[in-house]
């Protein structure tokens, strides 16, 4: 597919655990077009998070290729992958993973500290990101002064701030109540629809999966449908 942002081809991922070889992804291929909002579902251990990690450049496949926006991630070394992640992908985790002693503003600013932007430019970017997630008024609050939903919004702002092509979300609503989860999913839909972000989301929650444009199921390292 020529308009694919993500192209995963014949990927295998195995781990050696003791004397046993554990196959996590088994000859998996996947194309994700630009602007897609894809939900990945499947039982625990099916390989969802591993696939997400490969696409996010956090891990490399045992064999096969992972290409994102024309870049072969499987051929990049650790340093190049770090650099690539800083500008092409934003991560959203289940437990938000904000640095507890930094304010919302500083947490969102973290990815920008790796860029050559000036202090005022960084401030502008951070304020824009916080505005998108409707948390501009909480910029000076520390994570422990925010609710779970607000913390996840800060994490989303952090993922957005460097304007990446793709957002990788690992159970983004897994730690939230139903109403807050709905808010977060609505926000992700807005980011996908209005801001053109391609979103890959791993979830166990069918309601979350319904927010996506399409859903794929994995089982034993293979796509089932």
């Amino acid at each position: 597919m020529s308009d694919s942002l993500v192209s995963v081809k014949a990927v295998n991922k195995t781990y050696q655990r003791g004397g046993e070889k554990l196959v996590v992804l088994d000859d998996l291929s996947l194309e994700v077009p630009k602007g897609d909002f894809l939900a990945l579902m499947g039982p625990s251990g099916s390989g969802k998070s591993t696939l997400l990690n490969l696409i996010g450049g956090l891990d490399t496949p045992t064999s096969g290729s992972v290409e994102v926006d024309g870049e072969r991630l499987d051929s990049l070394n650790s340093k190049a992958l770090s650099k690539w992640r800083s500008s092409h992908v934003g991560f959203i985790f289940q437990f938000y993973n904000l640095l507890p002693v930094l304010t919302a503003f500083r947490n969102v600013e973290l990815p920008l500290l790796l860029t050559k932007l000036s202090g005022s430019q960084r401030k502008q970017h951070v304020e824009t990101a916080l505005n998108i997630v409707s948390l501009a008024d909480r910029a000076s609050h520390k994570p422990n002064e925010l609710s779970g939903g607000q913390q996840q919004r800060v994490a989303i702002a952090r993922a957005l701030v460097s304007d990446p092509d793709i957002l990788v979300c690992d159970e983004p609503t897994g730690d939230l109540d139903r109403d807050t989860a709905t808010d977060i999913l609505n926000l992700l839909q807005i980011l996908n629809r209005d801001h053109g972000k391609t979103i890959l989301m791993v979830t166990h929650d069918p309601m979350a999966a319904d927010s996506a444009k399409r859903t794929l199921h994995l089982d034993k390292g293979r796509l089932t449908h």
Binding site: N53, K79, S82, F91, L99, P100, L102, L110, L114, D170
Partner: protein, 383 residues
């Protein structure tokens, strides 16, 4: 960038960071104070001249040697001026003061130039056999004035059969450094020798100024060789070297100091190393997130190293700073006796700085490596 990461780490557990810095400060305070006092333990005090040699009884630093030794030393080639000093201690119970009485000749001020007085005082001493010059510090403490009588119960038996001695204050003396020497009294040797019942014709220390510091060792060796294997065997050498040897008689103080300091710094190493390891372990998820958003392995390695440097150097600055502030207080508390005896040299600061660098590197290397090697996927999976 680094400052944001380091600040985030340091302030994550404020009390732990504070206690770690406090324990390092105490270690450096101990280092600073021990170092400032090392001159006392090693004898390498400021103001001791290298071209002045001291000749003392070999086996007893408070013993005596025949006065004829003074003449012998004076006769040696390379010796410019000679004087001598007999120390008479006073019993604090029956005395107006509990310092030392130095029985000496009037030329003491020409040879031993760190002792100073006025020409009038010297003249007054010559005019009055029982006249004494009182050290300025002692005079200030006891309020002695010219014309005052100083009565003391001394270690030498007076020819009247008692240990009671009476002198008259005719002036004062000061010292250029090692102010503790101002707690004594200078008396005429001839008067004391004539008036004492025992040990007549002996003296304690011989002090000789040689033509140049290079000659000091050779002349000292010659003197000691001359009296070797006799009942008047001597120990001679430049004043500072002799002071070190005398301290050495009590044990290897420098070795003991080094052992204490090694124990102190081994403790710092363990404290910091443990704190850093614990901090990195607790921040596994944070480090994983930082790596996921693009921070490189080496950047996080450097960040952990810098964190240790900041902790240790904060402790170093506080500890050495307090030591620096405490020195004038200790000197004041000693009533200036320790003036010029305790001080911090630039080499102490350089040593502290080098220790700081070494301890920072050693204590943070393993935790920093832990951060470097951290696998994002594994760390995130563990939560």
């Amino acid at each position: 960038m680094y400052w944001v990461l380091i600040k985030a780490s340091l302030f994550r557990k404020k009390i732990r960071t504070f206690l770690t810095i406090a324990s390092i400060s105490i270690a450096f305070l101990l280092f600073g104070l021990l170092n400032s006092m090392s001159a006392i333990f090693t004898g390498s005090m400021q103001g001791m001249a290298a071209d002045v040699i001291m000749v003392m009884p070999k086996y007893n630093m408070f013993g005596t040697q025949p006065y004829s030794n003074v003449e012998y030393v004076r006769s040696l080639e390379g010796v410019e001026k000679v004087t001598h000093m007999t120390m008479m201690t006073s019993d604090p119970l029956g005395s107006m003061f509990d310092g030392m009485i130095f029985a000496t000749d009037e030329n003491i001020f020409d040879v031993y130039t760190r002792f100073q007085t006025t020409e009038e005082s010297k003249e007054a001493m010559l005019q009055r056999p029982d006249g004494v010059l009182v050290g300025k510090l002692l005079a200030d403490q006891k309020g002695f004035k010219v014309g005052d009588k100083v009565r003391t119960k001394a270690s030498f038996k007076h020819e009247d059969g008692t240990f009671n001695w009476e002198f008259e204050v005719v002036g004062f003396y000061t010292v250029k450094n090692l102010t503790g020497d101002e707690l004594g009294i200078m008396a005429n040797y001839k008067y004391i020798d004539d008036s004492r019942m025992t040990m007549k014709g002996t003296t304690g220390y011989i002090i000789a100024e040689v033509l140049s510091p290079e000659l000091a060792d050779g002349i000292s060796n010659k003197i000691d060789k001359n009296f070797e294997n006799s009942d008047r065997a001597t120990r001679s050498g430049p004043e500072n070297q002799l002071a070190m040897e005398m301290v050495g008689d009590f044990g290897d103080i420098e070795l003991i100091m080094n052992l204490i300091l090694s124990a102190v710094f081994f403790t710092i190493l363990l404290v910091t190393g443990n704190t850093m390891s614990q901090a990195v372990r607790e921040r596994t998820a944070d480090l994983a997130v930082l790596k996921s958003i693009g921070y490189g392995d080496f950047q996080l390695f450097v960040s952990v190293m810098l964190e240790a440097f900041i902790i240790i150097f904060s402790g170093l600055i506080v500890g050495m700073g307090i030591a620096l502030l405490m020195i004038p207080l200790i000197i004041a508390a000693s009533q200036d006796m320790l003036q010029d005896a305790i001080y911090l040299t630039s080499s102490a600061f350089i040593t502290a700085f080098l220790i700081g660098i070494l301890v920072s590197l050693v204590s943070s290397f393993m935790p920093a490596r832990q951060a470097l090697k951290l696998k994002v996927v594994d760390a995130l999976a563990k939560g």
